[in-house]
Structures are given as structure tokens and as C-alpha cells.
């Protein structure tokens, strides 16, 4: 019996193998978020019974949910992969970037510098990302093999044609490619895979009680990095996270979905996209994602 996801799995596995065959130093970006978890599982299956022939890397803002870091470390240990951590805090300490301050400060945009520095330091030439085209309209336009010049920049007006499933990874010294093997998966496909193959995720994806406060019409979690302002009241709500990113810009949604099946049911009838519901960073402007991607963001 074939899985309903088999066509997508075949496509993703083929892309991952192609990169391993053609690039010198690939790396897989792994945040512990569900998309990167699915991508890591696909990579494991692409090379089984051999081990994954590349390391994974987390760009760590230092502003994480504890549950996610605990999960990240357990997951890489279980799978026997090497973890590299690119630290935003280290970039700040070394003076590469200035930390942001104030009640609404988020280190999310600072990650770009740390990411590009880490790519250069390790001489990575292919960087797997778990971005999906259904997430956001600039991502809907991006190729599977997405070229980055020596400044890490994306040029959306001059993307290489990408035909049939033949990928062109030719690049000069110092340039690299972002590779998106799960481009054609939807949020629902991701959850279906998690259900079908019983994939472990950070606990915060499932409904739990947590102190939160209302900001910009979203539920933000109280953490040591994010405190409410004077007029924002903290309440305890049943919530879960639809996406997992930096704790200062990732919002929770009200939900009682405590199992994968509950979440699939909830996702099937969702009326708001996951980024629209939970990402303060995407609300900045009409072309927020396009602009960030141009300068080297994920």
C-alpha cells in the first residue's frame, strides 16, 4: 500500500540525494521546528542504512523555548548526526552585530548575519532549508535550488530556470545554494507525515496551559526574553504553537488539540495561514519576506 504522501517523499528524497552527490559541503538547517524535523527524517531515509553524509546546523538566537532546545539535542543524539550551533549571542559578543533592545526587540532579523558567517566559516556550499512554498508569497516564487551570491543575496528577478527535476548547482567559490527539498509540501502534508510515521516533536506543538498576553492581536508567551508591557495583562490559556521560531516573535494560538489527529482536524479547517496567525516578523510590510530573503535570510 502506497502512502498518500509517496510522490512528495520521492521528490524530496531525490533532491536530498542529488545535493549529497553534487556538492562538496552540504549542511541541513535544523531548528527543532516541525518542518526541519520532517526534513531531517527524510534525509535519514534517503541514505539508510548509511548515516547522513552531512551535519545539521542550528542558528540559535539565544531566545528559545526550553522545550525546543531539549528536543533538538535529544533528536540529533538519537539520529547520530553532528550538530553545529551558530550563535547569535556569539556574533553580538564579538561585535559583528549589535543586540537589539527595548520591549519589542527581537533578535530574529539578526540571525541573517550569524547564518551567513557560519556558512562562510564552515565553507558550506549547499544549505538545506525546510521552507515550503505554501507558507508565504515570496517563497511561492522560489526555486528548489536557490542561488546565493557571495554576499548571500537572493535575486528573485534573475532566478535560474528549473526544469523537469534536473537541478543546476553550479556556483563559484564563495557562493552557495539554499536547497528546499520540501517546497511542495503543505502544512497539512507535514502533519500527515508526522501522524503516519509517528514523528516526535517538541511538546509545545501540542495544546498546553501557559501564561500568555495579548499583543498585536496575537497570544505571546511570557518568557525571560519577552515580558508584557504595562497595559498588557498576563492570563493562563490553553494554547499551542503552529510554528516554532524565536520566542520573541512566535505567537501561540488558542487550541485544545493535544494529539496529532486533533491538529490535523484543526489544520484542515484553519482559515488563517500559519505564518499569518503566528509570526510577528512577517507582518512588517507587504514584501517583508522578500526583502529579508534578498539579504540572505532563511
Amino acid at each position: 500500500m502506497k502512502s498518500s504522501l509517496s510522490g512528495l517523499i520521492d521528490e524530496s528524497v531525490t533532491i536530498i540525494r542529488e545535493v549529497a552527490a553534487e556538492f562538496e559541503r552540504p549542511v541541513l538547517l535544523f531548528s527543532g521546528g516541525k518542518d526541519s524535523v520532517v526534513m531531517l527524517h527524510l534525509a535519514v531515509r534517503a541514505f539508510a542504512p548509511a548515516r547522513i553524509p552531512f551535519p545539521v546546523m542550528h542558528i540559535d538566537t539565544g531566545h528559545n523555548f526550553d522545550e525546543v532546545i531539549e528536543f533538538r539535542d535529544r533528536c540529533v543524539a538519537d539520529m547520530g548526526v553532528q550538530l553545529i550551533v551558530g550563535s547569535v549571542q556569539a556574533s553580538i559578543d564579538s561585535g559583528r552585530i549589535a543586540d537589539v533592545t527595548g520591549p519589542r526587540a527581537s533578535r530574529n532579523p539578526l540571525q541573517t548575519v550569524t547564518l551567513l558567517d557560519s556558512i562562510a566559516e564552515h565553507k558550506f556550499d549547499a544549505v538545506f532549508g525546510g521552507a515550503r512554498r505554501d507558507e508565504e508569497r515570496a517563497r511561492a516564487k522560489e526555486r528548489v535550488y536557490s542561488h546565493r551570491d557571495s554576499f548571500g543575496q537572493w535575486d528573485p528577478k534573475n532566478q535560474r530556470p528549473e526544469l523537469w527535476g534536473i537541478y543546476n548547482g553550479r556556483h563559484r567559490q564563495g557562493e552557495h545554494f539554499r536547497i528546499f527539498p520540501i517546497s511542495n509540501w503543505t502544512e497539512l502534508d507535514i502533519w500527515s507525515f508526522i501522524a503516519e510515521y509517528n514523528i516526535d516533536l517538541p511538546s509545545i506543538y501540542y495544546a498546553h496551559r501557559r501564561p500568555v498576553f495579548r499583543r498585536d492581536n496575537m497570544w505571546m508567551a511570557v518568557t525571560s526574553f519577552l515580558q508584557p508591557e504595562a497595559n498588557e495583562t498576563v492570563v493562563e490559556e490553553m494554547v499551542r504553537f503552529r510554528t516554532v521560531g524565536d520566542a520573541t516573535c512566535t505567537a501561540a494560538i488558542e487550541s485544545v488539540a493535544s494529539t496529532v489527529e486533533d491538529i490535523i482536524a484543526e489544520t484542515s479547517v484553519a482559515r488563517v495561514t500559519e505564518r499569518g496567525a503566528t509570526r510577528a516578523d512577517d507582518r512588517m510590510s507587504e514584501a517583508g519576506m522578500e526583502d529579508r530573503k534578498r539579504t540572505g535570510y532563511f
Binding site: 527524510l42 548509511a50 512554498r133 530556470p161 526544469l163 534536473i166 553550479r170 511542495n184 514584501a287
Partner: protein, 418 residues
């Protein structure tokens, strides 16, 4: 659930974005935050109506100019099928992007404005769909509401198209009279056109039969990656990973490896989800073989009595895609075909195809961006291929400029003319 990939080709004026918006909206695949966003943008720009093209035209430059420049991918599902839409630009200067989007789809939708009928753009789009070997074509005669839902208009356009299309290689063409704006025959049957007895567009997309589109006869397995675990638990495992490009492989099958010509037997097939009995076109699997042969990436596994062609002299339809420099005869390029990379020279341009009139223009020795020609090539290593019309996966290749790294050309291999 089955998945159908389809391309929509055209420009905003044809009602393409309205049609996609209609399909997404009626299948409840537009989210509230997306709709709020485009409503706000349309209002700020002073548009009279909500511009649904803002949903798919995701780049700043596209929104500024109100045109589709690059392919956008959209996703929706009904209880019967999941759909991936490759929304392609229609303007002639973005032909390469249209080809990018339409190269690997099951079906293409070409829109015709009922008021104008078959125009140069219709002919160009249909030709490209035909060249790319897209198995199913749907001609949507749109804006029927503006011609009083007149059957005579639909019949005339259909006849006009068929007259032109007889010169193309189109396997399955379906004509639908629709109004994307009013919703006629898109998702629900139109009460305004009782004379039309065919199905709605969505019904057609849900039911079009695609199972026979793959080549299940000619076994082709380009070796992509050799899996050799350096782990004590698997001392003897040596698997050949790749994606089935044709035929159906079973454990026990006798196979031949090209270019060496050595033969062996399949002893097992591993899929990403565990061992399987057989592998079909599109499956990403790892083959285990009986004998310890020297097999590397770029080799082709086939059946001893059914082999691809092997040659260093090729003939192809080539679409040029590099805006920086035209195709130059005898310049050395890199060629990528299946999992094989070699170097190639274009030795001759037999003719350039005028994509608007279908005329074959001879006496030409270069192709500029968006131009298509029939060419001959010479490669540094043997290419193991099939005619593109027999097998899209083993019949296609790309040309890469070695200096800039650009994907400069896309080709479809053909049998040499006799």
C-alpha cells in the same frame, strides 16, 4: 490521495488570476489573512475590485507592473485529489519561465478570451505545451458572459483552434466554455449554457485519467547515489539509489548496466519507507544487485533486451534561456542529462522555429533568449537517452554556461531525421 500538477498559462488580461482565485476560493483554499491582505492592498492602490492576482504575483516587481513574471506555485485540495498549480507568465519575454513551470506538469490550462478567439498568444502557448509533451491540455474559452453565452462563439473558437492544432502533437485536448468571473462551469455547472454537456473545470481536474501517462514499459533507472554504509552492522550493504525514470522494476529482474553493458539481477528494492516488492516510475528507491559490479553515478540500469539509445551525437529541440548571451555554435557548454554531466558543443542549428507562426527559419547559427531551434550536439561522453516523446525523464537535458553557471538552455531529445 492522488496529486495532479497543472500549469495555468496566460496573462492577467485573459482572466487567469481570476480563474485561479475562483478555484482556490470555491475550494476554500484562500485563507482569511491572505484575503485581508490583498483587499487592503487593492484598496490602497484605488482598485475598483479585489485584485486576485495579488495572491499569486508575490514579488515586488510583479505587483508594481501588474504582470506575472515568474512561476508561482499554489496548492489546494478537494476530497478527491490534491493539486499543485504552477501559475505561469504568458508574455513572450517570459517564455523561459513559462517553460520552467510547464516542464513537469500533468496538465496545462490555456485560456482564450471568447471575444478575441484564437490569437498569436494562444498559438504560442499551445505550441510550447505540445513541445514539452504535456499529456493533457484544457482550452478554457473564458468570458462567455461577455458574448451572451453564445454556443456559436464557442463552436467557432473550437474549430479555429482545432484547425491550427492539427499541426501540433497534442494528445488530449478538452474545450470548456467558462466565465471565471461569474463562476460558470468552473466549480459548478452553468445554468447559462445548457447547450454544453461536458463537465466543469474542477470536475475535469479531479477526474482526468493520468495513470497511463508514465512510461511503464521501458525500464530506465539512472543511478544517482551509491549507498555504502561505513557501519559494522551493514558490512556488505551496497545499494544504488535513484528515481525510476521508466518501467516497473521487481526483485528477481535481470538487468543491464550501461555504459558497461554488464548484466546482473535485482535482489532487493529498498524504498525510503522500507523494503518493497516493486518500483514504479517516479519512485525514489535503492536497488540491491546480485553481482559486485563497478557502478557509479551517471550509469543507467535497464533491461538487457530494452536499452536506451547511447550516443555522443544528439539531435534536439533546444530552447535558449540565457538573457546574457545567445547560444553560440561550437562553444563548450556543460550538459546535464538524468544524473549524468558531460560537456557539449552545439554543432549545427537545423532551423529556428517561429513560435508564433510555426515557420521553420533556416540559415541561422545562433539562438537568442526565448528562441527555440532544432539543433545537433556533440558530447564528450556517451548520453543514454530516449526520444523525449517516449520518455520525458530520459529525453530532457539542460545546458549550463560554464563561465556564469547560468542554466542557458533546455532541450528535448529527438530521433534524428532521416
Amino acid at each position: 490521495m492522488e496529486r495532479l500538477r497543472f500549469a495555468t498559462v496566460g496573462s492577467v488580461d485573459d482572466g487567469k488570476s481570476t480563474l485561479i482565485g475562483r478555484l482556490l476560493y470555491d475550494s476554500k483554499s484562500i485563507f482569511e489573512d491572505q484575503l485581508e491582505h490583498i483587499e487592503a492592498v487593492s484598496k490602497r492602490r484605488g482598485d475598483d475590485y479585489v485584485d486576485l492576482s495579488l495572491l499569486t504575483d508575490g514579488l515586488r516587481a510583479e505587483r508594481e507592473q501588474g504582470i506575472t513574471i515568474d512561476v508561482a506555485y499554489r496548492y489546494f485540495a478537494t476530497p478527491k485529489r490534491s493539486f499543485i498549480i504552477a501559475d505561469c507568465p504568458g508574455h513572450i519575454q517570459y517564455t523561459r519561465n513559462m517553460i520552467t513551470g510547464a516542464s513537469n506538469v500533468d496538465l496545462a490550462i490555456v485560456l482564450i478570451d471568447a471575444r478575441t478567439g484564437v490569437i498569436e498568444q494562444t498559438r504560442r502557448h499551445s505550441l510550447l505545451v505540445s513541445l514539452l509533451g504535456v499529456p493533457h491540455l484544457v482550452i478554457c474559452v473564458n468570458k462567455m458572459d461577455l458574448v451572451d453565452y453564445d454556443q456559436a462563439v464557442f463552436d467557432r473558437i473550437r474549430a479555429e483552434f482545432e484547425e491550427f492544432a492539427s499541426r501540433l502533437d497534442l494528445q488530449d485536448v478538452t474545450f470548456l466554455p467558462i466565465s471565471a468571473l461569474a463562476g460558470d462551469n468552473c466549480v459548478t455547472r452553468s445554468a447559462n449554457m445548457p447547450w454544453f454537456e461536458g463537465s466543469t473545470l474542477l470536475h475535469h481536474l479531479e477526474n482526468v485519467y493520468t495513470a497511463s501517462d508514465d512510461n511503464r514499459i521501458d525500464t530506465r533507472f539512472p543511478v544517482q547515489f551509491v549507498i555504502r554504509p561505513q557501519r559494522s552492522e551493514f558490512p556488505d550493504y551496497r545499494g544504488f539509489a535513484g528515481r525510476v525514470a521508466g518501467g516497473v522494476l521487481h526483485a528477481g529482474d535481470d538487468v543491464m548496466v550501461l555504459p558497461s553493458g554488464l548484466t546482473t539481477k535485482i535482489t532487493g528494492i529498498d524504498s525510503p519507507l522500507g523494503p518493497v516488492e516493486k518500483a514504479e516510475p517516479g519512485d525514489a528507491v535503492t536497488l540491491l544487485l546480485a553481482d559486485d559490479l563497478s557502478i557509479t553515478r551517471g550509469d543507467m540500469i535497464c533491461r538487457p533486451n530494452n536499452r536506451p539509445r547511447v550516443s555522443q551525437e544528439l539531435e534536439a529541440m533546444l530552447c535558449w534561456m540565457d538573457d546574457a548571451s545567445p547560444m553560440q555554435q561550437d562553444k563548450i557548454y556543460s550538459i546535464k542529462h538524468t544524473t549524468n554531466t558531460a560537456r557539449a558543443k552545439i554543432t549545427d542549428v537545423l532551423y529556428r522555429l517561429n513560435i508564433s507562426t510555426l515557420h521553420r527559419e533556416t540559415g541561422i547559427n545562433e539562438l537568442k533568449m526565448n528562441e527555440i531551434g532544432r539543433v545537433t550536439l556533440h558530447t564528450t561522453a556517451p548520453i543514454m537517452f530516449d526520444d523525449y516523446h517516449q520518455n520525458r525523464s530520459t529525453g530532457c537535458f539542460i545546458i549550463v554556461d560554464e563561465a556564469t553557471g547560468q542554466t542557458a538552455g533546455a532541450g528535448m531529445l529527438l530521433s534524428p531525421r532521416t
